[in-house]
């Protein structure tokens, strides 16, 4: 397989403020996306993670600040030129009825063609390479509507790959997939990152998957970055409680060794075994030492802790967004 010979492109944001209509979601956010790495953005619903991704992809125009592609403001670069450096897979893309896999993937070539310049062998080869690496070649002539969710998602990724961009942004690519297909998609993204040193940025809901697949993790809350860096350092019990308002314990993932988040919730089992009570006690002590956001929650009872955590969470979650 040939790898892209273009130099790697860099993506960053400076003092971003973004919102819809009157409501500002991101207030003052700066970030550098590490080149050639997988970056995962996590956070509670309506924390602005999709908004950040859309702004990085120039779908939303920031009210203040700017997104920098190779150091230049992305709004000042012709959108078609951006599309040769940065590819995007929206959260729920729509395909015209009856479109075949090969046809859809082929449309990813749009930024590299002109209406006067006809389809060439290069385009065929790019489509072939994209379909080979996503393993959808065998279903090339099938209509999209007939495919399973996982197959369909791989086809959309193939379309973004046919764009031949160094940077790939994906908005919750695993949301509507079952567990097998979620890992199928995530493994594919790792392959693409390892093989071509592509910069991949994705929004994920599942913290354990985020920890396992991210080189760089960005945790967001209320439109700001709470912390970012190696998942091992970012994902701590304090951070998770801060951004999700949920009490958790963190243990090493028995398979990957990355942090694994185990939520406490209000009920550990259907009949709340007494030994969990002591675990909860230890946990609360730790919190008080660290001076977390739930300091006022002095009560040792696990149930009380979880209750006030969910109260905190309802302050964070505004389900009206998206």
């Amino acid at each position: 397989m040939e790898t892209s010979v273009e130099p790697s492109h860099s993506l960053a944001a400076e003092n971003l403020a973004v919102g819809y209509d009157q409501r500002e979601i991101i207030h003052d956010l700066s970030v550098r996306i590490p080149t050639g790495k997988i970056t995962v953005i996590v956070g509670a619903n309506a924390c602005g993670k999709s908004t950040l991704l859309k702004t990085l992809a120039r779908l939303l125009k920031p009210a203040r600040g700017r997104v920098l592609l190779d150091g230049k403001s992305i709004q000042s670069i012709p959108t078609r030129e951006v599309a040769t450096k940065l590819g995007l897979l929206p959260q729920s893309p729509t395909a015209p009825e009856g479109i075949t896999v090969a046809d859809l993937v082929g449309r990813g070539r749009y930024p590299r063609t002109r209406w006067i310049r006809q389809w060439t062998k290069t385009d065929d080869e790019a489509v072939a390479a994209a379909m080979t690496s996503t393993d959808v070649l065998s279903i090339a002539d099938r209509p999209i509507d007939e495919l399973s969710g996982g197959q369909r998602q791989r086809v959309w990724i193939a379309m973004a790959l046919a764009q031949e961009t160094d940077i790939l942004l994906l908005d919750e690519p695993t949301t509507f997939l079952d567990l097998t297909h979620q890992f199928e998609v995530l493994d594919l993204l790792v392959d693409l990152n390892k093989r071509d040193q592509r910069t991949i940025v994705l929004v994920l809901h599942d913290l354990n998957q985020a920890c396992r697949f991210a080189d760089h993790l960005i945790a967001m809350k209320d439109g700001a970055i709470v912390c970012e860096g190696d998942p091992n350092e970012v994902i701590t019990e304090e951070v998770v409680r801060d951004i999700f308002g949920l009490a958790v314990r963190i243990i090493p993932d028995p398979v990957a060794g990355t942090p694994m988040v185990v939520p406490l919730g209000r009920h550990t089992t259907r009949s709340d075994r007494p030994q969990d009570q002591t675990n909860g006690q230890d946990h609360t002590n730790g919190d008080q030492a660290s001076g977390g956001a739930v300091l006022d929650m002095a009560g040792g009872s696990l149930a009380a802790q979880a209750l006030s955590a969910s109260a905190a969470a309802s302050g964070i979650c505004r389900p009206t967004d998206r």
Binding site: A95, P96, V105, R107, D141, D145
Partner: protein, 347 residues
């Protein structure tokens, strides 16, 4: 690399199968259009064999047939052909932009706006002929403009465009009805014939203005169809692929409105053609794209056949072509919706 070559071969074949089908459908439709065209030239009070018609079209034939074919029947047939093609393409553009089969210019108010202005011209201003056509075009363009402005909220969503279009269509229809109730009976009847869509008494001036418009718009259509295929993937994907979404959509709407407007100006709002031709074209070609050529041919075929039926199927009674397209189109729509509901794919 043999693996790449093999992969290229697979996708080329996948594309080839589709293209072959599209080309076959286009050829068959083109033949049907030509046959309908020639038959419509041969029928009438004075029947001329189809062979003679073809001969006359290529410059032969005696003076009598030359007069009947070229002077009397050809302008009407050509106008019908071009009206159908324009409506077919207009429908294909609107339905693809909106990703919704309901979004054809005769459903979302564009042609109603043209109708209201034309009736105003006929009833209130007492105009006829070219002046009515001009006002109809103005009405269509103005309606589309109001629709676009009202639907604009940091970009135009297809859904809002359809809803607002249907609302404006209802307003235009009620204005038309009001004007008709105020009109004298003879004038109201004249306006009603216009509103049904008729090809009666079309002459070469209609053909010239239609032909000129199509000649100007066709290169634009060729240029914009490429973008339409990307726009179909949804706004976000289209942005991601580097399409200037809003300007492309605006350009396509302008072209679609102009096509519908000149067709309406030439023949009145011939119902259901723009609505029905593109879905049939897409089904025949199994094309996920707008299927512009097939839609244009199908539009021409529907109008041509309908006009044949309207003129000759009922003995001495000649119907306006719009009556027939309505009778043919409405049941097809119902069939389409019923089928789509069963399949659950939304048409």
């Amino acid at each position: 690399m043999t693996a790449t070559a093999e992969a290229v071969r697979i996708i080329t074949r996948a594309r080839g199968v589709r293209q072959a089908r599209t080309i076959a459908v286009i050829v068959v439709l083109a033949v049907l259009v030509v046959v309908t065209f020639c038959v419509s030239l041969s029928l009438g009070d004075f029947k001329i064999p189809v062979i003679d018609v073809v001969e006359t079209l290529f410059g032969g034939g005696d003076r009598a047939t030359e007069f009947i074919v070229n002077r009397l029947r050809l302008p009407r047939a050509l106008t019908g052909l071009m009206v159908g093609a324009a409506l077919g393409m207009s429908g294909a553009i609107f339905q693809s932009i909106a990703r919704n089969p309901l979004a054809s210019p005769d459903i979302i108010g564009v042609t109603y706006g043209a109708g209201a202005f034309a009736v105003f011209a006929i009833v209130t201003l007492g105009l006829t002929g070219v002046a009515v056509s001009a006002l109809a075009i103005a009405g269509a363009v103005l309606t589309a403009f109001v629709m676009y402005v009202l639907a604009w909220r940091q970009g135009v969503s297809s859904y809002r465009l359809i809803l607002i279009g249907i609302g404006i269509g209802a307003i235009a229809t009620s204005v038309t009805s009001y004007l008709l109730t105020k009109a004298r009976v003879e004038i109201a009847q004249q306006a009603l014939i216009w509103l049904t869509g008729s090809l009666n008494g079309r002459d070469w001036s209609n053909v010239r203005s239609m032909g000129l418009t199509l000649a100007v718009l066709t290169p634009l259509i060729v240029y914009l169809v490429h973008r339409l295929r990307i726009l179909q993937l949804g706004d976000e994907t289209a942005y991601g692929l580097g399409l200037r979404v809003e300007s492309s959509r605006l350009g396509l709407i302008v072209v679609g409105v102009l096509l519908a407007a000149v067709a309406t100006a030439a023949a009145g709002p011939v119902g259901f053609v723009a609505f029905v031709a593109p879905p049939i074209a897409r089904r025949l070609t199994r094309s996920p794209g707008p299927a512009m050529i097939a839609s244009a041919l199908l539009g021409a075929l529907v109008v041509g056949l309908s006009d044949l039926i309207a003129q000759h199927a009922f003995g001495d009674t000649q119907l306006p072509v719009g009556v027939v397209t309505g009778v043919v189109g409405a049941p097809y729509l119902m069939f389409l919706l019923a089928r789509a509901n069963r399949v659950g794919s939304g048409g």
